[in-house]
């Protein structure tokens, strides 16, 4: 197998990370930014899990007939990371709902325009 093909999961990780970050930065819609964030976090799941899996590997059972083991620890870690990611996404969506209620829009530039009206102004000199 060529190096590029055997490192396929790493290329996928990098693509997801950069794609997610790009959406996060480039989009002005608060919902779309959250989608970018979720895609970015997905890249971490892949980064951890892919190296933990050996082709032909089994669960780590000490018995006859089980020679190659996959490391179970990365899966457990990522289970935790997925829970954290879900909590973050839920909180983010909840905040966007509140922003929509308070401002009537979910476009960042429109919210910022409304904000500027609220801020205290510099006194005239």
């Amino acid at each position: 197998m060529s190096a590029a093909a055997s490192h396929f999961s790493y290329w996928a990780t990098i693509a997801l990370l950069i794609g997610g970050l790009y959406i996060l930065i480039a989009r002005g819609n608060l919902f779309k930014k959250l989608i970018g964030l979720a895609i970015m976090q997905t890249s971490v799941y892949l980064l951890y899990i892919a190296p933990g899996k050996l082709i032909g590997g089994t669960a780590p059972i000490v018995a006859e007939g089980y020679a190659t083991y996959s490391n179970p620890l990365p899966h457990v870690l990522i289970l935790t990371a997925i829970v954290v990611g879900v909590a973050t996404l839920a909180l983010g969506l909840a905040i966007v709902v509140r922003i929509r209620e308070a401002y009537g829009t979910v476009e960042e530039d429109e919210v910022l325009k409304l904000d500027r009206a609220d801020a205290p102004q510099r006194p005239e000199r």
């Binding site: 970015m40 951890y48 935790t80 954290v84 983010g92 905040i95 801020a119 205290p120 510099r122």
Partner: protein, 493 residues
């Protein structure tokens, strides 16, 4: 009981949070949050005494021996930061009742206390744990609670501030966990002490360098290292006063601690500072923070934002101390964690009192006119804490700058001394704007008189008094900081 202290101080606020949600009573919530804060302070002080007497304390969670199980590890550095976090929490918690009572709707108050407890548990856990992934989980516990606390701010722009902080904070945490993942792939362990051992044998250095970069940028986002600070001014300015005070004194400081932990106990600091330009990069960014953020603060009309920008500049002093990479610089960085924490804590607590008397809405510098006549003690406290921010001799801030200058001279970087002085002058200008409004301008007609409620004032005056106390009696702030700096650099060169 005593041997369980490292876990107990995290468990106390962690258990208090669900109890508060179940009880649904603001009064009970406040009592539980205060009790948890004081419990954590007692545990932190006992732990610090134990560490000072007998060295590093190691605690195996669930009796699984490290490096297989999760280890809690309290050494001189973490003991110092634990005391800082627990002390701030204990000073802010009694103050919270009146402040939260004024700023948050009655049916949401108990939730604010629950989030405060979770945030405290997360911050203490980040400091106490010796496990890289456990640190990430506590980081997210603290961060998610922080986002909610900021979103509870009295104006609607608090929502956008919380949202922006959530995006940047999550990117930071994700970068951190990518760094940890790369280190785990190279060493096969998550225990920080074990990881440091095994990194010596790692031949392929590129993933380790990538891990260093990811962790530095990730924690740089969380600690508001210039130019990754964009979330901070809005977050601090829009949060409820008690939350601003608590976060300004703890959240970014704990992230600095994590960075130090990786730089000095996981990676090889010699390679980090001699062979890589880590120190130069940190110094360049710190100088930019000290000058640019101070300059922005000079022109900022909103008082809370003014002091939030000042926080970005003050974090520059801390990272400058780390970048200098010598004994005096590290001592300055660690001492400034505490010195800046109490000064900024006092200021946000006092501004909370002013906002309480002035009513809702953002507080401009002009709104402070005649404060010395209306609220003399508040104005005095603001002036004292402001002097400490400038670094006037006799205040805690001066002690930090003294060590920073010593560290810069030791490295032969004369121009840095000029930068520190220039940044202090800028600080003098923005503090003067506040003091001038408070003392020299007449109070607007019809402005009400009267100090903030006594518990709020007591917390702020205690912090302001500490600013002066630590300026003269430096055995705790500098003493403990030097102890921790010794611990970090011991046996390295």
């Amino acid at each position: 009981m005593r041997e369980h202290l490292p876990a107990l101080q995290v468990v106390l606020p962690l258990v208090a949070a669900p109890l508060i949600v179940l009880a649904r009573s603001p009064r009970f919530a406040w009592l539980a949050a205060t009790a948890a804060s004081y419990g954590a302070l007692v545990a932190a002080v006992l732990l610090a005494a134990e560490v000072a007497a007998g060295g590093t304390v190691s605690y195996a969670i669930g009796s699984w021996p490290p490096p297989w199980g999760i280890e809690y590890r309290v050494d001189p550095l973490s003991a110092f930061v634990l005391v800082l976090v627990a002390l701030t929490a204990s000073l802010v918690a009694p103050y919270a009742e009146r402040s939260i009572g004024a700023e948050i709707a009655a049916d949401r108050r108990y939730l604010a206390y629950a989030m405060y407890c979770l945030c405290l548990a997360g911050l203490l856990g980040m400091v106490a744990t010796g496990d890289a992934f456990n640190l990430f989980v506590f980081l997210e516990i603290a961060s998610l609670a922080t986002y909610v606390l900021i979103a509870l701010g009295p104006q609607r722009r608090a929502l956008l501030a919380a949202y922006q902080y959530m995006l940047m904070g999550t990117v930071g945490a994700t970068f951190y966990v990518i760094g940890v993942g790369l280190l785990y792939l190279m060493t096969g362990t998550l225990n920080l002490a074990d990881m440091a051992e095994r990194l010596h044998d790692v031949q392929e250095l590129r993933p380790v360098l990538a891990a260093l970069a990811f962790i530095t940028v990730g924690m740089g986002l969380k600690l508001a290292l210039f130019p990754l600070h964009q979330w901070l001014p809005n977050a601090y300015a829009c949060a409820p006063s008690m939350v601003s005070a608590f976060l300004a004194a703890t959240a970014t400081k704990v992230s600095v601690y994590v960075l130090l932990r990786y730089y000095y106990t996981v990676f090889d600091p010699w390679a980090l500072f001699e062979r890589l330009p880590t120190g130069e990069v940190l110094i360049a960014l710190s100088v930019a923070a000290m000058l640019v953020a101070s300059l922005v603060a000079v022109y900022e009309p909103d008082v809370k934002r003014l002091f939030a920008w000042s926080s970005v500049a003050q974090i520059g002093y801390i990272t400058l101390g780390i970048g200098l990479d010598n004994q005096a610089g590290l001592t300055a960085a660690l001492a400034h964690l505490l010195n800046h924490g109490i000064a900024k804590g006092a200021i946000f607590v006092l501004l909370g009192g002013v906002a309480l008397r002035a009513g809702a809405g953002a507080l401009g510098v002009a709104d402070l006119a005649g404060l010395a006549a209306r609220m003399p003690l508040t104005a005095l406290g603001l002036a004292i804490a402001g002097l400490s921010l400038i670094g006037v001799p006799g205040t805690a801030g001066f002690v930090t700058k003294w060590y920073l200058v010593l560290g810069a001279l030791e490295r032969g970087l004369w121009w840095l001394v000029a930068v520190v002085v220039a940044s202090s002058l800028l600080a003098a200008i923005y503090v003067w704007r506040v003091v001038e409004a408070a003392y020299l301008r007449p109070a607007p007609a019809g402005a009400g008189r009267g100090e903030a409620p006594a518990p709020m004032l007591a917390a702020a005056m205690a912090m302001a008094a500490l600013c002066v106390y630590f300026g003269f009696e430096t055995s705790f702030n500098v003493g403990a900081a030097r102890e921790a700096a010794d611990f970090l650099t011991r046996g390295l060169r």
